[in-house]
Each structure stands twice: as structure tokens, then as C-alpha cells.
Symmetry: C2
């Protein structure tokens, strides 16, 4: 089942510190971390979504370096990870691509550092994903998180990762790593 779960790293629509809907810039290190994570846990791949053509071109040139260029020659493990990356315009395009690969519309699952609403516990999420019949797109927001319209696009939302106190400002790289381990780790 995990091989039909993909991660979506979303750069729009996300919110900034004050809640304005924005398009965040792609951080190339995120792409490496997400792809290495997906490959380690046997997931189906990673979608980087941004509506900005120049940003998608940036990702394409990064991919070129690692898949066919000198990066991949020097570091085959990194090439192997980045083979799982696709760059698309939107969450919808990612969902269509997943549907094309597995012949079924994916279930969209959101992640959020904010609680409230009908958040699903990690235990329950693990059970749901283990028995899911459709492919799954697990959606992560950059910046200060997914905009409400992106959250609303998802079927359900996982509970936030919480430490002992109030502070829970993990990077999206850390959050995705912990979420994937909790959902699919041994």
C-alpha cells in the first residue's frame, strides 16, 4: 500500500505569517529531503507543486543535474531518490497525475500544525492508510501552512505533531519526516 502513497509539497495556496494567501519560493533542499524520505519508506513519489513557471523550470534544471547530469554520477543514491520527483502546477494536477498512474482518483489527506476541526489521530490515520483502496496524496504546505482552500480540498486532516509545550514550529522537512514515520514506520 505505501507504494501508492505520494507526498505533495505545496507552494500555493499557502499562507504567510499573518494568514495572507501566498505562493512560497521553492527550497531545493526540501525536494531532496522529501524524495529521500519517500524512497526510504517505499512511497510512490513526490509532487512539488507551484504555479510559477520559473520555479518549475528551476526544479527541472535541478532534476536534470541529478538524473542525467554530474550530480547523479557522483551520488547515485541521490539520483535514485530524485527519480521519484514530479513537478506540477497545482494540487489538482498532482491528483490527476496520480489517477493516471494508478487508474483511480487519490484520496487527499492534509497535514497541519494547527489543531481544531475534525483532526484525525496518527493511530487512526495509520489504520485508514493501511486499508485504503485508493491511492493517497499526503499534502504538506510550505510557508506557514496550507491555505484554508487547500485544506478544504482534502478529505481529512491529520492531527498536528505536538511536543510537551505550546511550541510546534517544525520545518516542513521535519514535520513530513515524522508524519511519514508515524504512518508507515515499522
Amino acid at each position: 500500500m505505501p507504494d501508492r502513497v505520494c507526498l505533495a509539497l505545496v507552494h500555493h495556496p499557502t499562507v504567510d505569517r499573518v494568514g495572507t494567501v501566498v505562493t512560497t519560493a521553492v527550497t531545493t533542499l526540501d525536494l531532496h529531503d522529501f524524495c529521500r524520505l519517500a524512497r526510504t519508506y517505499g512511497l510512490g513519489g513526490v509532487y512539488a507543486t507551484t504555479p510559477l513557471t520559473a520555479q518549475r523550470d528551476l526544479v527541472a534544471s535541478l532534476l536534470d543535474h541529478w538524473l542525467t547530469g554530474r550530480g547523479g554520477e557522483a551520488n547515485p543514491c541521490r539520483r535514485q531518490a530524485l527519480q521519484g520527483l514530479r513537478v506540477v502546477e497545482s494540487i489538482d494536477e498532482a491528483a490527476r497525475d496520480v489517477a493516471g498512474r494508478w487508474g483511480d482518483e487519490p484520496e487527499l489527506v492534509a497535514t497541519s500544525a494547527r489543531g481544531g476541526g475534525q483532526r484525525v489521530s496518527f493511530d487512526e490515520g495509520r489504520r485508514r492508510l493501511a486499508s485504503a483502496e485508493r491511492p493517497v496524496l499526503l499534502v504538506f504546505g510550505t510557508g506557514w501552512g496550507l491555505a484554508p482552500e487547500a485544506l478544504a480540498r482534502c478529505r481529512w486532516t491529520l492531527e498536528p505533531i505536538q511536543g510537551p509545550g505550546e511550541y510546534n514550529h517544525l520545518s516542513v522537512r521535519s514535520a513530513a519526516s515524522i508524519v511519514v514515520d508515524r504512518l508507515f514506520g515499522r
Copy 2:
């Protein structure tokens, strides 16, 4: 107890792809991710270790930006996280600093993506740390991991994080996040 556990992000002695002992360059994003992780899980702080003066100066100027400069004004959450960062020359200096803060030599615990030897399971590690009487320094290597001499300096080593297959090339940011969650998460 977690408040007497610190993370050490080690840039020397580490190994490169072919096992040569090297000094890796500081990736400033690592410092953010480690500090945000430590703060979220209520740990005692983060030590960035590098023997290179110019690299320690780089970290100092980063800290200046976030602790007293415009970064911290614009993003107080980030300032709060980076308040936990100390930059030192070596693992030994980090251990001495921990000893100074809590009046007792820390127990050094290594992490590694490689198995073999007397690796300690996460369940057992969690038990050990929950009942540890001394402060703990949890040691992470950059590059291709800690050099043998750094591993040997530690009291015990946690088992690697493994997915379903052979591939386990997580970034140090991902690995540290998963390790901390497994050891101290709810």
C-alpha cells in the same frame, strides 16, 4: 528528563562517500531545523560542532541575525528556537558545556544509518533515556555520517532508521526528526 537532552550536529570527524575522514561545511538550514525540533520536543538545546573558525563565525552571524537582529523581530518563533543553539569546536567541547550547565558529565549517544555492532533499538533507547540520571548528548553526523572515532567516543549507538527496503539515505534533518520523535514523542 528531555530538558537535559541536547542534540549535537557534528561536522568533524565525519566521513565522506568513500569513508575518508573529513570536515563538512555547515548547512545553515540544518541549524534551524535542529533548533526548531529541539524546541518543539522540549529538549535542552543544540550544539553545532565544527573545528573551522570561519564556519563558527558564520554560525555566529546567523545567530546574531535571529537573536538580536531583524530576523528575530520578523519571526519571533525562529528566535525562540535559535536561542537554544551553541556553536563549539568539538564533541568534547559540547560535552564539557553540557557538564557545566547541569553539573554532570553527559552520556554520549550516537546515531547512525549503518547497522552492525551493538546497536540499541528505539524501544530500549527510549527506556534508557527516560531513566537516565545524567544529561545526554545525542550525536548526529553530517556528510556520510560520524567517523569511527566519533562513534567510539559515544557510550552506545541507536539502530538505523529502516524502511521496507535497502535504501536508507535520509537527510540528517529527517533522521534527527524521526529519532527525536521516536525517543521523546507522545
